[in-house]
Subunit: 208 residues, 4 copies
Amino acid sequence: MTDQSVIKRNRRPAARPAEILTAALDLFAEKGFSATRMEDVARRAGLSKGAVYLYFTDKTALLTAIVETTIANELKEVGARASLAPGPVAPVITEAARHISRRLTETRLPEILKLIIAESGAHPELASLYFDHAISVALPLFEGLIRRGVATGEFRPVEPAYTARSLAGGFIFSALWRSVFEPIGKPALDIPAFAEHHITLILKGLAP
Amino acid sequence: MTDQSVIKRNRRPAARPAEILTAALDLFAEKGFSATRMEDVARRAGLSKGAVYLYFTDKTALLTAIVETTIANELKEVGARASLAPGPVAPVITEAARHISRRLTETRLPEILKLIIAESGAHPELASLYFDHAISVALPLFEGLIRRGVATGEFRPVEPAYTARSLAGGFIFSALWRSVFEPIGKPALDIPAFAEHHITLILKGLAP
Amino acid sequence: MTDQSVIKRNRRPAARPAEILTAALDLFAEKGFSATRMEDVARRAGLSKGAVYLYFTDKTALLTAIVETTIANELKEVGARASLAPGPVAPVITEAARHISRRLTETRLPEILKLIIAESGAHPELASLYFDHAISVALPLFEGLIRRGVATGEFRPVEPAYTARSLAGGFIFSALWRSVFEPIGKPALDIPAFAEHHITLILKGLAP
Amino acid sequence: MTDQSVIKRNRRPAARPAEILTAALDLFAEKGFSATRMEDVARRAGLSKGAVYLYFTDKTALLTAIVETTIANELKEVGARASLAPGPVAPVITEAARHISRRLTETRLPEILKLIIAESGAHPELASLYFDHAISVALPLFEGLIRRGVATGEFRPVEPAYTARSLAGGFIFSALWRSVFEPIGKPALDIPAFAEHHITLILKGLAP
DNA sequence: CATGAATGAGGTTTCATTCAT
DNA sequence: AATGAATGAAACCTCATTCAT
């Protein structure tokens, strides 16, 4: 029945690009972009060197595609969320932050963030892309919520922009812990538990 | 008589290694480790290609030296600090955090952190080194202070390890904002101001 | 009913080889043999990459076939011509030369000559083939006529071999002008007019 | 004394570019541009693969340099020649034509012409360069002389442009015979003898 | 017959490192 | 100590050719 998965090296065009990107991300995250050879990517995707070039023009195209896919997903998720619902903002902030925390655990976001950081020098477009489509969307979202909380007296008067960054810091910390330190054998971080603690800490810090 | 100023920067062998490392860090931070050519480093340090090899065995040795120097400074600073002084810990935490904030502004720590992150795949020893000598020193230091605060009732009961990480997150955030986003033209972050805000927010969050 | 025009250029297997060769010559002449990709040839012939290999074993086979076809036509034309008719040879020379001139205008001979020249290093067989079947047929033909003219006193005593080459030079010049310089935008040469002038010049030069 | 020529692989910077170009031309002429591997060029120049790139940025740069050098020499030679001396032009034409003939024998012009023709598709700039700096200089020179001869009655009324091309044809013929057919084992052409014959034939053809 | 995905040899180019001077 | 010419391994990418469908 599943004999198709046994077949060695034939026709499965539709799945190829995603398979290649997964292989590429595995390796980029593991050894870095430039230490990864195209042939390694191909091999890990179960293809020959040349085949990768049937789907991506360039080694750089792999990187770009990884980041663009991530951004696309990011937006898809965040899009619905804006949450202009009236009432206290704390639960909204909590929920949004939990969502990010979940994405850190359930997706490869930590590795992708590491990759974007790592390549920001050689490939500034990527960092720019991520900034424009993810960071400059997420931070203002939190800023807006906090501002509202301050306005309604739910929070003490704080600088929303800085507060949003304090919140974000926890997630950056989590992402890098996972993608940088865990792979080299340092103790794992329980991201959901830390996230809960972090959210609570920040919200308590906002109490009037 | 003014020969020392005439010969300008020609013969001061003792300063060479540091000059080379500065040049290397400039370039590594700007374009990434592997996109930086040894010749560029040499040129920027005012030397010929071959001369760099008189001081460093390897391209990797440059990276290692940069990180090791940073760690050495880190330790030198932090070492004296342990601060087992009795009394409330909040001021101690504040001071320690301000110190880190200052280092982020006054040294090239942001770039070095980016570099360590970027190369953690290809050069795990570096990340390990930094972890062992900086992170696994600094985090426990904060954890200890927080634990004491909890014990004395100065703080509400929190998980010190997580709290220390929330604090650290702000600094990671600052470092990466500076080293990743500012170089690509995104708005600058006022690190000291953010640090003050961040410290206050966390400490308020710890209030019993 | 109009199915033959509807299906346009789809199924006419018999014509395929010629279509492929035309496509190949177009491209070889335009960008050179090695810069031409088999896929381009296929595309231009309205076929898939693999289909070309149903008709030709090799990329080189395309080249060979082009040259062999040309030679075959050359011979077919020249064959009948030998013209051992008695009487003055000038008109015979004129007619033969005009014939070549016509072939330069009406066939793709200029491009094929360029191709043979271009590939004479990598594919000496082709140049050899062309030499043996075209050049070493045509030159002796002119030499014979000139020799006869000299023998009968119609021409002054000249070296027939050299004279034939002077005549041939005009045609080589025409062919290369057309295939090398006109495609890069240099002024066109009126080959028939030049041929007339050239023939006259040479024949006048032969006057006793 | 000449021990320096025995030395294997050391410092001879000044001569290198010329050595490399000679090696390149040897191989380009022998096997064609694209069939020549950079490593072959290097090896023949007595260098390693990488060393060639210390002197030329590109494989194409070799080609360009060869053609540009040729053009420079061409111009240097022709420059002085303009020959506006009064009196019969036939001796001037003869001398100029002999000069070209000599260059065909004494320099590598035949091979370079073959190369330009061969690469005119892939590297039209080269053909253009040669056209603009050599052909469109030489042809008008002959045209002018012939026009003068016609004006003075030294020649019969002819079309100078065509006549110049008839003259040029002999040299193109010689060049290609030498570079295309002789290398594949066809009988050698005595270029000086043919040139004399050709010049005489053309001049006789111009007699009033 | 026809397709076009897949292969992999082969070539260009880069650059860390060496070493004669 | 310093130089910079030279080396050659390594990696990207192309494309002729094959072959399952």
